[in-house]
Amino acid sequence: MTTKIRIRRVSKTYKTDGEEVRALEHTDLDVGEGEFVSIVGPSGCGKSTLLYIVGGFIPAQGDVLVDGNPIEGPGIDRGVVFQEYALFPWLTVRRNILYGLENRPLTAQQRAQAADRLIGVIGLEKFAHRYPRELSGGMKQRVALARTLACDPVVLLLDEPFGALDAQTREVMQDELLRIWLETRKTVLMVTHDVNEAVYLSNRICVMSARPGRIIEEFTVTLDRSAGREQVMLSEAFNKIRNDVWLAVRRQATAAAAQAETPQEGTPQEGTPYGSAAA
């Protein structure tokens, strides 16, 4: 298995109110081609920061290589889906998806066909000409996923993609993501705080320590996903690994709580997805 993403000794320090905070400390991680890797950890451990660094959105010390090339800022080789959907509110569903197709060497007709196909994949034919504000959360996240896939990225970076959805919609979306992943076999790096989600979807789960974050435990997941959600989630194997991961995260969360006299919530300032505007 070739390595798609190579993260070496990545560190990140940011300043809030003149105070230096070490978000990441010498983090190492490799993600192989076609692998689905999840990062879990206590809140504020820097897992989203790590994802934004791989996305090229925020600078950091250390090396991040995608396909052996060091990253220089954001690029179409890395598709991103954010928890806040991040659809362009002034574009319709179809135009949002077309935005992702524009930088591919396609004719206008091919683009139109690809957009229609993706709209079909996410089942939003009836909403193709609606604006994002008219869609439910689940629909918005489907469009965001389709827009990212339209760009045909080498790797998918998912930042708590279903964190804003209700429990039922979240399960539907997880199954949809699983289906798309099984079809396309894209390399996926996902950040989540939902241990069930991580176990249900990933090949490998990395647990991050409390701040400064670094990967301290790894779990390999070998579940037969073709059996269907109930079979998988009720199985002995699923529960075993779920409990192990949950305990590992809990150890870090407890350590973080003990360590922090003053609670330091949130992500670095330049990494805060919604700077001044609310979602």
């Binding site: 996305g55 954001p74 598709g79 991103v80 991040a86 362009f88 524009e102 504000r133 760009c151």
Partner: protein, 268 residues
């Protein structure tokens, strides 16, 4: 018992809405009329609506109102248009270019609360009496609301939108045209609406201070001569024109911002 009308008949609802707007206006006009009719106020100082309407009808038969309104509209329109075009770029520049911001911010901060009509004597000195002076005064007053609102709209663009566009292959120029500008558009419209109000105020004020034409001069002249019914008629014509301009802008905004959450609230 008469035939029952469906509750939600659209024509009935729009009829009711029209009544809600018209009835208070009619009552206020009656009140105004009664002030004069019952000699509570001297009609020489506050002419009744009937007298004003008669004066308006008189003025409308000639070209006086029309010609002067056109002069004022031209001054307000050209000044506002220039302010919109340059204000949007200045706002974007301040939001996106820190060096530029450090130069322009103090200027904006210092002049923001200055009533631009205070500059009219200086502008007369520089440009003399006429269109250039009035247009410059309008431009200066309309510029800052556009700059400030554009700046806020661009500045408030969520990082995730910018990052998403970058990850989809957008470069700097594309970010500007397809992310920052559309995101700022609702704010830009708000700024333009404020600037529109300012531009009428300043165009009229400049004409009252020094001018040979324009509705402001006309109002001032009638006031000086004590023909208050004609003065009110001229004022009424300004009210109508300014109201129509604002409504036209609102309609344009509503059609451009259908995607925006406030699209339905724009009417208020």
């Amino acid at each position: 018992m008469g035939p029952r009308l469906p509750d939600a008949a659209p024509w009935l609802r729009s009829g009711r809405a029209t009544m809600r707007v018209l009835v208070p206006i009619i009552l206020l006009l009656l009140l105004w009329q009664s002030l004069g009719s019952f000699h509570l106020v001297d009609t020489a100082f506050l002419p009744t609506p009937v007298l004003v309407a008669r004066a308006l009808g008189d003025l409308m038969t000639g070209h006086e109102i029309r010609d002067n309104i056109l002069v004022t509209l031209l001054r307000a329109g050209v000044g506002l248009g220039l302010a919109i075009v340059t204000g949007i770029w200045l706002g974007i520049g301040i939001a996106r270019w820190p060096v530029f911001r450090s130069f322009v911010s103090p200027l904006v901060g210092a002049t923001y609360s200055l009533p631009k009509t205070a500059l009219v004597p200086l502008l007369i000195l520089w440009f003399g009496i006429g269109n250039t002076m009035a247009i410059t005064a309008v431009y200066l007053s309309a510029l800052l609301p556009v700059v400030v609102h554009t700046y806020h709209g661009v500045k408030a663009t969520p990082s995730v939108l910018v990052w998403s566009a970058q990850a989809l292959g957008s470069g700097r120029r594309e970010l500007l045209w397809r992310i920052f500008l559309p995101h700022a558009l609702p704010d830009i419209f708000t700024g333009i609406r404020i600037a529109l109000g300012f531009s009428f105020v300043v165009a009229l004020s400049a004409e009252m201070i020094a001018s040979t034409a324009g509705i402001g001069r006309l109002i001032f002249m009638y006031g000086e001569n004590g023909s208050y019914d004609y003065m009110f008629a001229a004022v009424a014509s300004v009210v109508v024109v300014a109201f129509l301009a604002d409504r036209a802008l609102l309609a344009l905004g509503a059609s451009c911002l259908r995607w925006h959450d406030s699209a339905l609230a724009v009417e208020t």
